[in-house]
Amino acid sequence: MYLFRLALASLANRRFTALLTVFAIALSVCLLLAVERVRTEARASFASTISGTDLVVGARSGSINLLLYSVFRIGNATNNIRWDSFEHFANSKQVKWAIPMSLGDSHRGYRVMGTTGAYFEHYHYGRGQALQLAGGRAFETDPFEVVLGAEVADALKYKLGDKIVLAHGVASISLVKHDDKPFTVVGILQRTGTPVDRTLHISLGGMEALHIDWKNGVPARGAGRISADQARNMDLTPQAITAFMVGLNSKIATFSMQREINEYRGEPLLAILPGVALQELWSLMGTAEQALFVVSLFVVITGLIGMLTAILTSLNERRREMAILRSVGARPWHIASLLVLEAFALACSGVVLGTVLLYVGIASAQAYVQANYGIFLPLALPSPYEWTLLGGILGAALLMGAIPAWRAYRQSLADGLSIRV
């Protein structure tokens, strides 16, 4: 105990170097913990992009491709599926609900999705949260109504009642606009931190009405054109959709339903379990995440080496201190413990300060990160894994402290009581 007091007093005497060392360790610890926490939360948030959906069904392609375009609104479907296929499965006894999705149009870079009211009722994300409206209502019978994701409304500064024109295709600058059929903003969703925020939702009827007068991928001209009002009075049941999501009455039926869909004779379909496909997708991105973690580990090692350098540099100028201690009875192992304790004190303060920095950082950036990246960083106590990391850092510091301790031990044996200036 007295040795620890001596070590602290000696450190206080070199407080500038000591503080710098502590600060370097603290920053590296903070970085490591932050990377670890963001990594964990990003994974969790990624996994919770969609929840409660048992199967996602699309035209036969790859499972990740299907996941990407149906859930993340990235890329395009290879093919559509027929409306009667959707109806076939939607009316199956095992199916509790089905959400049709029709993709392919966009608005200023944001994807437009045609769906039904079932979407607002049954689509869940996170830990089973349903979509909530921040204002307005869901689209109803009029086909030209649109419900905006939170980010779309924020970024483009749309409010309820605004009229917007959708564009054909998904390029951010589209040459073909559906400017004859403007949509009215009737609802804006609350932020979810999922791709829903970046989506414009219209009814399937609206999607159909947009393209009702199209022939061979181009709009009709002259007399062939159908106005918005004319379209309202026509049958707007779609011929095809892009994908659909299914919730089953019983989870047990998931695999048999999946097989049934995959073996459907009407057309080639693919049903995926979103959780499994998310795992596959995450494992693709896992390498980058691992790399980030490894880099931050190296930063911690750099911080500790900085400490080692600071202590080793101080050894020579502290020969006098050691000799005085020897003359008042300190044994060489006392001297060695003094240096180990010093390393421990530095690392310990660094770890504590780093953790404090992390919490201050999380507390101040929490709202911003949630709003912009959809990742909720909880102000939770360190997880067992994080405790292990912190313990590992302290252990590494003690090991490193053994190096100057050994040198000082040898030095104090050689110097004895004689003081070298």
Binding site: G329, H334, I419
Partner: protein, 236 residues
């Protein structure tokens, strides 16, 4: 004559692979005696002090302190024995600058139970022992909690003396403690040191090259004469 406190006989020391540095056929220091040992640099002074402190072991011969043969003790036991029975005062920069004056004086008691016990027996507590010693050496109480490096060199040397004397070690070894002091301060310091050594019953082994101080001591010797291995050529 009382039994000798410290006896060296047929002592020889050489660093491995070097010629013998010390060769002292016989030397003794009586209990309570003050001895001036003239030791210019190169006379083997540092090595002798290392041997007396038990930091090094002689190549041959014996060192007996209080009848205990140092050469038969382990390194750890020698360290222990040293702090129990020997106090040191060095040339200068004797103190740990980051500790207070009082903490510096109390240092040996943290490493020696024996000296703690003696300090308590005589003064009640280690803290009281420290302030009593410092008061005798002319340092006022208000300096006690100051950082050691806030003191003048003369004051620092008196703090070092107090530290060497706390817990009444039988032997006080002073290695040029006055070389950083001016002439007047030197004698005053010595008188205080003598008085305190007497009060504590400690012997004083005072090593210096400053011959002018020699008459103040009970006895004076020259290390160059004592040490047969010393050659004038070795004096730098």
């Amino acid at each position: 004559m009382t039994a000798p406190l410290l006896t060296l006989s047929d002592l020889g020391f050489a660093w491995p692979g070097h010629a013998e540095l010390l060769d002292i056929p016989a030397f003794h220091l009586a209990q309570g005696e003050t001895l001036f040992l003239k030791g210019p640099s190169g006379s083997g002074k540092t090595t002798l002090l290392g041997l007396l402190g038990g930091v090094q072991k002689p190549s041959r011969g014996s060192i007996a302190l209080l009848g205990q043969e140092l050469t038969t003790l382990s390194a750890g036991a020698r360290d222990h024995f040293r702090v129990d029975h020997t106090g040191y005062i060095f040339q200068q920069f004797n103190l740990l600058p980051f500790l207070s004056v009082r903490e510096n004086v109390e240092l040996p008691c943290h490493f020696s139970k024996l000296r703690t016990r003696r300090a308590k027996q005589r003064h009640g507590s280690v803290q009281q022992a420290a302030s009593a010693l410092l008061a005798h050496l002319g340092l006022k109480d208000d300096l006690l909690e100051r950082r050691a490096d806030a003191l003048s060199i003369g004051q620092q040397q008196r703090v070092a003396a107090a530290r060497a004397l706390i817990g009444q070690p039988e032997l006080v070894i002073a290695d040029e403690p006055t070389s950083a002091l001016d002439a007047d301060a030197r004698e005053a310091f010595l008188q205080l040191l003598f008085a305190e050594c007497r009060a504590a019953g400690s012997s004083l082994l005072f090593v210096s090259h400053d011959q002018s101080l020699a008459p103040l001591f009970d006895r004076h010797l020259s290390l160059a004469e004592l040490n047969r291995a010393a050659t004038p050529a070795a004096e730098v």
